[in-house]
Assembly symmetry: D2
Homo-oligomer: 263 residues x 4
């Protein structure tokens, strides 16, 4: 059992400078704490609740920024892809391709992501049972790519609410054999819950992250922003950047016990 | 309130002859019954549970068959599209473009479908509340296409099960203003419920169709096959073609009462 | 398949005069329509959301009123019992003992109700699968009482919401062998949804009742009140008494088709 | 924040000797670990899935055993009550009266339990939202008894399955003001899932207990048995007695971090 890793960054790449600023700060925090970091941000929000919502910088503008962050800060980067055609160009500048939850059963997208040879992180659909992720992972590994991560981000629970079933973490680990990530940001989302945008409850991010780390995960995914209430997307769910260091420090303490290295 | 319409056909286009045979039989049945028919079949099953499952004939082989069915049988046809690039070529030969439930929030796909000017039928995601479909419909209508249908096909209910909330039918009608279709086939699906394929319970197709028609819908969607147990996909949910005529006749009787024309 | 029966009345017995007035009006309506009536009202609301909410007249005051309604109006009456000790005295004046949903697994209450020899109507717990009602019914029948009804009143669906799974109606009929009732009033309840009381959406009572009758049930349960917005309990879910006649007439038309006597 | 407490014992009081044996062993374990123990066992299983299932020793036989355990072992004891009349006699020999989840809204039972002056532990119904427990607690405190505990034991999630929403723990703490217990045994129950009995998955007991303790709870409730597979009830969910010591030790380590005393 390797120590906990952190996948973090702002939901959207808002600008080159914004992405560099957040990435730099996260590198500084994780260097102090001694935890591995993968920097995450999205170039396109392809499934916003409303068509008029901001979608991000777009692929062409974002790729050089990903390249610059990797090169200047020495940190691996992760971003999500939405159709098969994006996989190859994105794979040239990022380390991990992420498959969004709604798209986790789109065979062509999975095969194109697998074909890049990059690590692929697949989010479990809100509509999927944890044991069904083995079929999703098999689509990737049978295409010749063994480097797969699976991410829990909540299951549908009535309308406009998700629930995080902590049993899903060991079930996915056992049935897929892949490292399991817990996405504490989207697990507190309230899909569609604000009429024309999705709501969320930021205060539950540390609650669910603590629970997942105590159960035992390979990594935790937390979106963060210097000023979440002004972020163009997922603001209600993102943790303030200023609160990341104490939160991650605490998660590392739980992780040490969970993995029996300090219990 | 217009009388009930029927969207029906085999899950996959298995071959030109198979599609023609089923379509001809459905035209004969619906002519006898006096109900409007839209013939449905899929050229690609893009989100099968397993990557090794049969996916259908593919776009290039299917388009001439759609054209032939329309021309020879005089019946409108519907098929589903999975990425933005498919919309324009498919729209040349079909009357209704259908957006799969998992993809109902993919903005680019919705906008490309809307841009064709064809009727667009959007299935409600298993993870969406009925009132949230107004945002989905707004993506289409704000793109200049007022011809939108919305389809209920079940909501996630625990793992490997869907539930059909009959309240969703009037809620979607009121909040979107679009005609509402009830998909009796996929509502009885048990997603992932057979390990490497999705299960289902065909015996509940008439149960849920009766309920939905009594509540009041514009149309009912029923996949059908001459021999469902040998169908390459969705066999457990499809109604045998031989049982369609009595089923549809009964639904028409419920529809007459529901719409106060015969009550 | 016998024709549809109606179980109806005000949620609470508010006073002798109030109960007589509603019962008389329901007898008049059902005589005009030609449908069997069981008059339902509760002498005690034993599980209100809040301890300060009105609970009804109580057992001692209510029993003579039940007796008077039966005698003067010639209509069978139904009421719910909450502990084993109530069963025998209540059974002296009512025709059907009803087991509340929360209590459907309390063995002592079920056995005491069965021992009276009266018909027992058990509501399915919001936490129970429809196939699990066979164990509940077996507790009653194995105690020597074959006269059992089972009632669907919604299943938990996330928080503060119920969903009516129409598949539950045939499943309960098949697995228990008992006549199945659909409770259209409590199925639209929003448990706890108003802070210190339960909410509900009265407008969905006819929606769900139509669906259930089209699927096929032995009876439908609808609470009604001359002025629901002033009722001491379940006001948000109760149908206005003035709307009962057209609603029940419509349900009878659906029932005739569902049971193939008029289709 | 006080250190974690443990509520533990066998589901049923099977005999005087069996109860004494398990209680003695738990006292020894918790003395070694330095954690407070409340011994739990039931004298009657009043809501078994099937009427023919074993129900326990019964009230009269059990009361002297509770008294003996308290006196000889010096450990507080907890048991559940099922109707108002049981509260006073049970309160004479036990320290904590527990209200079963199905009965958490039965006003008379709550008031009778409150009137004893003993601590009352109310389990949250599988059908209740966590914020709705404030009404339940208010029924107890408004009756003059401030000594209330609330217990999370899973929420209905589709059929035959519960899910443990870890957000419920802080929500209940905030909205009720009462100490919150996590019941790791019944949270892994599969209600009705074995046809004529409830199933469960014992392997998830430590998973969910770790998650809850990391989130932060006043106590954890774990049923245990020397030989769970031969236990008359809840065997599939109970932890083997031989595994309790390492499990509780680990939970105490998580608790120390969660409460910032050792983080």
């Amino acid at each position: 059992d390797l120590p906990l890793a952190l996948i973090a960054g702002p939901c959207q790449m808002e600008s080159r400078d914004h992405a560099m600023e957040v990435a730099s700060e996260l590198v500084a925090i994780t260097d102090r704490l001694g935890i591995g970091l993968v920097f995450k941000t999205s170039f396109d929000k392809a499934n916003r609740t409303s068509a008029s919502a901001a979608r991000g910088m777009g692929l062409d503008a974002a790729l050089p920024v990903f390249a610059e962050i990797r090169e200047k800060l020495g940190v691996p980067v992760l971003t999500d892809v939405h159709d098969a055609g994006q996989c190859a160009p994105v794979a040239e500048v990022v380390d991990v391709l992420q498959i969004p939850a709604f798209l986790c059963r789109q065979t062509d997208l999975l095969l194109a992501a697998a074909a890049t040879g990059r690590v692929v992180n697949v989010k479990k659909g809100q509509f999927l049972a944890p044991w069904d992720m083995k079929n999703v992972v098999a689509k990737l590994t049978s295409a010749g790519n063994p480097d797969v991560l699976v991410t829990e981000r909540g299951a549908s629970f009535g309308y406009n609410t998700l629930v995080s079933d902590m049993r899903a973490l060991p079930i996915m680990a056992e049935t897929t054999g892949a490292p399991v990530i817990f996405d504490a940001t989207h697990s507190v989302q309230q899909p569609g819950g604000q009429g024309t945008s999705s709501g969320g409850e930021r205060r539950f991010v540390p609650v669910l992250a603590r629970a997942a780390v105590a159960v035992g995960v390979a990594g935790v995914f937390i979106e963060t922003h210097p000023d979440p209430d002004r972020a163009p997307s997922d603001g209600p769910n993102m943790a303030p950047l200023s609160q990341m260091e104490p939160l991650v420090r605490e998660l590392m303490a739980f992780d040490a016990i969970a993995k029996r290295r300090g219990g």
